[in-house]
């Protein structure tokens, strides 16, 4: 790949981040602030001596434990961020190509030296690879604030802080797992990504209704024509259990990515993404 193509793609990614700052940065910042405010409120309800005892308990609990072993438990703190990323991704994917046509910026971008394929790929890379980076950075900032607060609390109450250091290391290890989980989720749900992009490029109005309506309609049609329910089975298999794409151990990354269902999902998702790329030529 030549340097110009890399710069083009970087510019497209930058455009996505700048145009969707609320989704990439605003939403996780709000979640982090809500969590911090909730934590401060809870801490204010607890007596100072009890707070010091709790801190001592946590410090003893984590002292000497491997950060990689404890990282999955710290990941539980990221659940609100996962849910936010999930909802924001759906909103982003269903609106992104639709919005381009609605505000006619598609004409400007098509006059630029970038292809429809590059534009659509930049949107997928932005939500699958780039958005989780922002979420992880904001979670890291939240952990940092929490650690500073715990350290001050520990020093003022004469609590041994070695365990808190291990807790911080576990939190850092969990950030890597959170990012890998988010990326694997994006790959696992690539057919859903493609479906939303296809209808974002297709619909003249209410793309979400089109996406949901056609999914139900095609499911019924398959049952009428072939007498099978492979679409419903496929959707149920892909979406029903988050355990299939959440990563709790570094060793399990390979088997989550290189298994038949993920790879077949990437193939099927590519068909829908190709449809979205071709659909982008209809700008009316």
């Amino acid at each position: 790949m030549d340097k110009f193509a890399v710069l083009q793609f970087y510019a497209l990614l930058k455009r996505e981040v700048l145009e969707h700052r609320n989704i990439f940065i605003g939403a996780p910042v709000v979640v982090a602030l809500l969590l911090l405010v909730a934590t401060i409120w809870v801490a204010m309800q607890i007596d100072q001596s009890q707070l010091a005892e709790g801190l001592l308990f946590v410090s003893v609990l984590f002292d000497g434990l491997s950060p990689f072993d404890m990282a999955p438990f710290i990941m539980l703190l990221a659940i609100p961020f996962y849910l936010t990323l999930y909802v924001c991704s759906v909103i982003y994917l269903i609106n992104t190509l639709y919005q381009d046509r609605k505000e006619m910026s598609v004409l400007f971008w098509q006059s630029m030296p970038v292809s429809n394929l590059q534009t659509v790929l930049s949107k997928i890379v932005a939500i699958v690879l780039v958005a989780p980076i922002f979420y992880v950075l904001i979670i890291f900032a939240m952990y940092l604030i929490a650690m500073v607060w715990l350290t001050i609390l520990g020093i003022s109450n004469d609590v041994d802080l070695v365990g808190i250091g291990y807790l911080f290391l576990a939190a850092i290890a969990s950030l890597v797992l959170i990012y890998i989980s988010a990326v694997v989720t994006g790959l696992w749900l690539l057919p859903s990504v493609g479906w939303l992009l296809l209808f974002s490029a297709f619909a003249k109005k209410t793309p979400l209704l089109w996406a949901a309506g056609v999914l139900i309609l095609v499911g019924f049609l398959e049952d009428f024509i072939f007498g099978t329910q492979f679409l419903a089975n496929w959707v149920a298999s892909q979406t029903s259990d988050p355990n299939q794409y959440l990563i709790f151990e570094f060793q399990s990354v390979f088997e989550r990515v290189f298994n038949y269902d993920t790879l077949f999902g990437i193939v099927v998702g590519s068909i829908l993404i190709a449809g979205a790329v071709f659909m982008r030529r209809f700008t009316d």
Binding site: P72, F73, L198, F202, V214, V218, E222, F226, T228, F230, L231, A232, N233, W234, A236, S237, S240, D241, P242, N243, Q244, F248, E249, S252, E255, R256, N259, D261, F264, V267, V268, I271, L272, A274, G275, F278, M279, R281, F282
Partner: protein
Amino acid sequence: MKDLILRNRYTLLVVTLIVYMGVLVTEGMITGRKARVIEFENPYFDFNSTDFEGFRERRNVNENIRAEFDDTGDV
């Protein structure tokens, strides 16, 4: 053929969905796909949204253990 597919947005949508469904149905027929969840090794958390029966059973077991513990009283 290309002109027919790319005539308007509706023909393109229909063709995309036909290819998509064609691949899904063919793969489903070859592999005999059923709604299934791949159970990966996860030693940390036991959550499977499709396994409500298992969840209920585990809860009953926990309640029985708690009831037995209550019967023995504090030592």
